[in-house]
Amino acid sequence: MWDLLIVNPFTNILLLIYAFIGNFGVSIILFTIIIRLATHPLMASQIKQSAAMQDMMQSPEWLKLQEKHKGDKERLAQEQMKMYQEKGVNPFGSCLPTLIQFPIIIGLYQSITRAMSASPLQLLQLARGISSGLENITPNASLSHLIPLQSTFLWMNLGQPESITLSFLPFGIPLLAIIVGLTTYVQTKLTMPPAANPNDQTAQMSQMMGIYMPILLFYFALNFASGLAVYFITSNLVGIAQYALLGKVNWNNLFGGGPKSTAKTNASRKK
């Protein structure tokens, strides 16, 4: 079912782009941009809901409520729910768009991987998944044109892990993996919302993600097909652009020495 609804249609779109463009690297970039743009309204809604939730949680009424019912969790929950309704904030409003986006992103990722089949079984799945209708759109979408894919992009073979060899160095430099690590770090930092309290659990976890996530994706890019690294980089850059478009890029996180707490900001404003 997952294959039928998500992976096969995505793979066919990716292959169709490839049939027109003739370059798999550019196809991955275009396909990633198209999918990110298609899910942009969901992302915007998530950011909006998340901001509304954060504003509410920093409000004096909310803090007062926490203080008043700190010994009675049941009552506190009831009062919080009442406040959600009064302020028109959906407590799941920021989660739902993320949950909808998640399978799309995973599907995108899987379709790229499927197109770069690494075993006869994966190639068989790819060949079976190619819609016969593609060839009616363009003759370049025939089986003979699509298998194997032209996987050379810039200096890379997209089916292989990438590294640049310099004559004076005894080892290769994994340039793409480094760019993946850097863009992931920058994206995590720029899109991290200011925390109400830097000591709270969410803020600490966000900060840790900002450290671990680039390392994890660097590792993936280092070891796996560079086509996936192209996807990671494009996805990171488009993500930053989407946040910037919505005015939610937090430049202070990158250049201002860490995330600024909104609690602190509010306090300094009062002074």
């Binding site: 006869p120 079984l121 089916g159 659990q201 976890m205 671990y212 070891n223 796996f224």
Partner: protein, 369 residues
């Protein structure tokens, strides 16, 4: 603070697992590879190669009663799917890492002790096809588009072809030339000693299956679009071309009477063909409800093939079904005749390996404990 760190790490571990599964690369999947030396069966099925003694269909055990496999311990970086090739000593096997992630190791191993004899680490990519082993050379195709020739101790003699796309199929030889197909649509004839290209031919579609070279002076091979070719071994000139229903995913098999047998993949169905090797004329065809991916097996008076859907069918040379047995699981691996037994290695089945007698009666099954 400590608990937060643990939660973050747990989320990342989950993400890593998810991405690995999604990519299918950290854990690449394929059907199992099977070889036998008559006494043992060697089954490459993912992380390890199983050595199964055919007399009692059991694995060899070490002093601690632990099964001896290669490698002794699973390694997440390693995956083995090609049929292990036996070295001329009859004791050692050659098997390459099929995992796209590094290292791209090729191992010579002693499967009876689970130890590595040597490894070759300088390949450009991972290994899909099984090697061809002659008296003094190992010829092995790599996904980097090159054919590697190594001596029996793992020293590189030459690396040739450098095709734009991977070489996934088992090479074959007529003694003087090596024939190897490529995803790049080409079949190559390579001088066995120097590695120089004698001829190459563009067949217009991807080739994932091994060719078959015959004493009649032709090499036969089929493409994913279903074109079956006979080419002159010396010149590469196409003698005939026959288009079949569905793609060709496995090597044809040539019988002594000059008939080529092979199956095709047409969506989820398939057809089994008998072809006149001299003319390319279709002699018989048998439509199956499921695809035929594995090469058939020629027995004394019949031919046997397996379908993806799990059917084992034995047919007489005149095309009449002798017997047919369904099993649970998918059959992609070519059946193997050892003595009076037919070895079958299903994927996603109730067992890893089974032996059937020549009348289709199951003799035993093997599943690792």
């Amino acid at each position: 603070m400590k608990s937060n760190r643990l939660i973050s790490l747990a989320i990342l571990a989950l993400l890593a697992g998810l991405l690995s599964a999604c990519t299918g690369q950290a854990a690449v999947t394929n059907w199992p590879g099977l070889t036998s030396d008559g006494e043992f069966a060697y089954l490459a099925d993912g992380a390890q190669v199983y050595t199964i003694r055919l007399s009692d269909h059991a694995e060899l055990l070490n002093a601690e009663s632990k099964a001896i496999r290669y490698p002794l311990e699973r390694d997440a970086q390693l995956a083995f799917y090609a049929p292990p090739a036996l070295l001329p000593d009859g004791k050692s096997i050659i098997i390459g890492n099929a995992n796209p992630a590094k290292p791209h190791s090729l191992f010579a191993a002693d499967p009876k002790t689970g130890t590595t004899l040597w490894s070759y680490e300088d390949a450009g990519s991972f290994w899909v096809g099984a090697p061809l082993v002659t008296a003094d050379t190992i010829y092995i195709p790599n996904n980097d588009g090159s054919l590697y020739a190594l001596n029996l101790t793992g020293t590189l003699r030459w690396k040739k072809i450098n095709a734009e796309h991977g070489l996934w199929a088992h090479p074959v030889t007529n003694g003087t030339a090596i024939f190897v197909t490529s995803l790049n649509h080409f079949i190559y004839s390579i001088d066995a000693i120097s590695g120089e290209t004698i001829w190459k031919k563009d067949l217009q579609n991807a080739l994932v299956s091994a060719p078959v070279v015959a004493e009649d002076g032709f090499v036969y091979t089929g493409t994913l679009s279903g074109d079956l070719f006979a080419l002159n071994v010396d010149t590469g000139k196409i003698a005939w071309k026959t288009t079949l229903k569905g793609g060709i995913w496995s090597a044809p098999v040539l019988s002594k009477d000059g008939t080529l047998y092979l199956g095709t993949v047409d969506g989820n169905t398939g057809t089994f063909y008998a072809i006149n090797a001299q003319t390319g004329a279709i002699l018989r065809e048998n439509l199956e409800e499921s695809s035929i991916i594995a090469s058939p097996l020629i027995l004394t008076d019949r031919v046997l093939y397996v379908t993806e859907g799990g059917l084992i069918r034995a047919m007489t040379e005149t095309g009449i079904t002798n017997w047919a047995t369904p099993i649970k699981g998918k059959l992609y691996t070519a059946p193997l005749l050892v003595g009076e037994s037919i070895l079958i290695a299903p994927m996603e089945g109730d067992f890893y390996l089974a032996a059937y007698d020549l009348n289709g009666v199951q003799q035993w099954t093997f599943s690792p404990k």
